[in-house]
Amino acid sequence: MKQPVPQKNEELQNSQLQEQPKKITKQKRQYPFFAIEDPVEENRIPIFLKTFESVLKDEKYRLLLDLYLNTCASCNSCAEQCHLYQTTHEQRDLPAYRSNLLRSIYKRYYTTSGKLLGKLVGAKKLEESDIDNMIESFYRCTMCRRCAVECPMGVDNALITRIGRCILGELNLAPKNFTISSSQQLRGIGNTSGIPKAAFLDTLDFLQEEIKDITGQNVEFPRDKVGAEYLFISPVSDYIMEADTLMGTAMALQAAGADWTIGTEYYDAINYGLFYSDKVTADVLNKLLAEAYRLKVKKILIGECGHATKVVKLFMNIFGKYKFEVQNVMEYTAKAIEEGRLKINPEVNKDTVTYHDPCNLGRGLGIYDAPRTIVKASTIHFVEMYPNREKNYCCGGGGGGVTVPDIYEFRMRISGIKKVEQVKATGAKYLIAPCANCKKQLRELMEYHKLPVNVIGVHDLLIKALVF
C-alpha cells in the first residue's frame, strides 16, 4: 500500500514562502602564489585571447614567437639546464612543459591543425584553470635563459615566459610589488623606493663625505651637468643599500677622467616592466631617456644592475623616444683599467672572492669579461665558481622574483639552492654580484643558509684598491 505523503506544516509553509531568497555571493578567486592588486575577475578568457592575438601580430614578437611556438624538439635538454627543475624534479618546472601552457593555446586558436585536431597535436582550449596555472608557472620561472643556451632548436623558454607574463599583466595578474612600484615610479614620487629629490641630494652629499672620510679623497657626484659625456643612472635602491658600490663607481669615474653627471629630475634605472609589461617598460624607459635628453648627454652609463642595463640596450630602439649610446659602468671601468687610466693595488683585498654572473648581464648582454677584469685587477685571490659564465646558475631571484616577499621561501629553498651549492664549493669569503636584484637575493640566501659570505658589488672593491 502506498504510503501517504506527509503534509507540510502550514505555518512552516507560509514562513518558507515569506523567506527572502539567499544572495548568491561569488567567492573571490584565491591567488596563493603571490598577492595581486585589483586582478581582472570577469571575462578573463576573452581578454587573454585578445591580448595573445595582439602579441602574435606585434612586429616585435612575430618572428620570435612563430619560431619558438612552432619549434620544439621535445628533447628536455632545457630541463637538464634549469636550476628550478634540477631542484624540484617536478613536472610543472620542466621548461618545455611551462612553455606548452602557452604553446597549446597558440595551437588551438591560431593554427589550422590545432583547430581541427585539438589534443592530438597538443592544442588545448583555454580554461580558467589554465590561467591560474600560468600565474604560478610563469612566475616560478626566473627567466634566467640557462635553458636557451643548450636548446638545440634555439628556443628561448624565458621569452615565452615573458610573453605569458605580459598577457597576464593585461589582466592585472602580476605581483602587487611590481604594479605598486611601477605606479610609484610613473605616477607617484618618481622612483620605486619613494626617495624624494631633497633626500636624494642629501644622499649624494653623504656619499661624498663618506669617500672623503674613508680615502681622504675629494670625489664628486656631479649633478645636472648639461652637456656631459655620460649620464650615470643606477637603481635608486643602490642609494639606500649599495653605498659602497656607488662610492667605488664615483671614485673610478673620477680617477679615469670621465665627464659624467647624475640627473636629479629622474634617478631610478629600475624597470620592472621588463618582467611583466611592455607598456610599463616603455613608459619607464622614456622617463630615463628624457632625463638624458634634458641634460644633453652623449651617452648613458647604467650602474652595475643587469636588468636595468638590459632594458635600455634591448628596448631603446623599439620604445625609446630618444636614442643614445649605452654602456654598463663595468664596461667603462674595465676599459679604463685596460688602457691604464686606473691604477689599482690588489694587495688590499686579500680575501678569497668569487663572482656570480647575473643572467641579464651575462647571457643577456655578453658582459662576462668586464667585471672579471675589474675583480681580478682588484683582488689577489679570485676563484671562479663552477659552472660559470653562460652556464652559471641564476641567483634564484631572477625575473623580478626577488622583489616579491610572498615567494621568499620559494626563493630560499627552491630557486636559490643551486647557487648556494655553488658558493659553498668555492670557499670564498666574498661573493661579488654586480646586479642589484642578485645582490639582494644572494644576501638573503647567505643569511637563510647561514653561510659566512659577504655579498658585494664589483666597484666596492675599488674603494680600498684604487690608487689616486
Binding site: E59, L63, D66, A73, S74, N76, S113, D156, Y368
Partner: protein
Amino acid sequence: MNTISFLIELVLPYLAVIIFIISLVIRIKNWASMPHNLKWSLYPMPVTYKEQIKFMLKEILSFKSVFHNNRRLWIGGWIFHIGMALIVLWFLSFLIGLHTGIILRIGLLILFVLPIYILIVRIANKQMRAISSPIEYFNLSIFIIIAALGFSVIKNPFMHPDVVRQYFIGILLFHPVTFTASPSFLWLLAMVEFFLIYFPNSKMLHMVSKYFAFHKVNWESH
C-alpha cells in the same frame, strides 16, 4: 594500370614534390622576411660566419646538446638521423646504378628500430611523456611504416631493382615509365608521397626553423 596505381605512380610523385617545394619556400620566405625588431640575443654567440658554420655543423653532426642533456634520447635520435641520411645516400647511388643494397638494408633497419626505441623512451619516461603529444608519436610511426614497407618491397622477388630504377629515372626526366608494381611498392610510394607533402607543414621542419632561430634571433647582436 588501374586508377589508383596511375595516381600513385604517375600523378602524386609530381604533386607531392611540387607541394613539398612550395610549402618549403613559403615557410622559409615567411621566416626570412619577418621583421625582428626585438633584439633578444643570447651570449656567447659565434660572431664570424666561419664560427657560426662551425657551431651549426657541430650541433647538426653530433646533436651535442641532446648528447649532454638526454643521452637516452640522443642514442635514438642521432642514429635515426644517420639512418635517414643513409636512405638518401642509397637512393642517389641507386639512381646512378650502384649496387648499394647493404646501405639500404642498414638504413631501413635503423628507420624501423630507432623510431620504436624513441617511442618507448617518450612513453616510458614520465618527463618526456609530459611534454610529448600524439602528433610526435604519429611522426615517428610514419618512419616505422615506411621502413616496414621498404623491407616488404626488397623481399618481393617481382620487384626487380632495374625496373624500379627505370621508373624513378623516368619520373625525374619527366618521361614516366609504367610497370606492374606490387601492392607493397604502391603503399610505400604513397607513404613517401604523403611524407613529402606533410614534412614541410610539420614540426619536422625544425631542421630549417632552427637556422632562423639562431641566425635571426639568438645571434642578433645589439
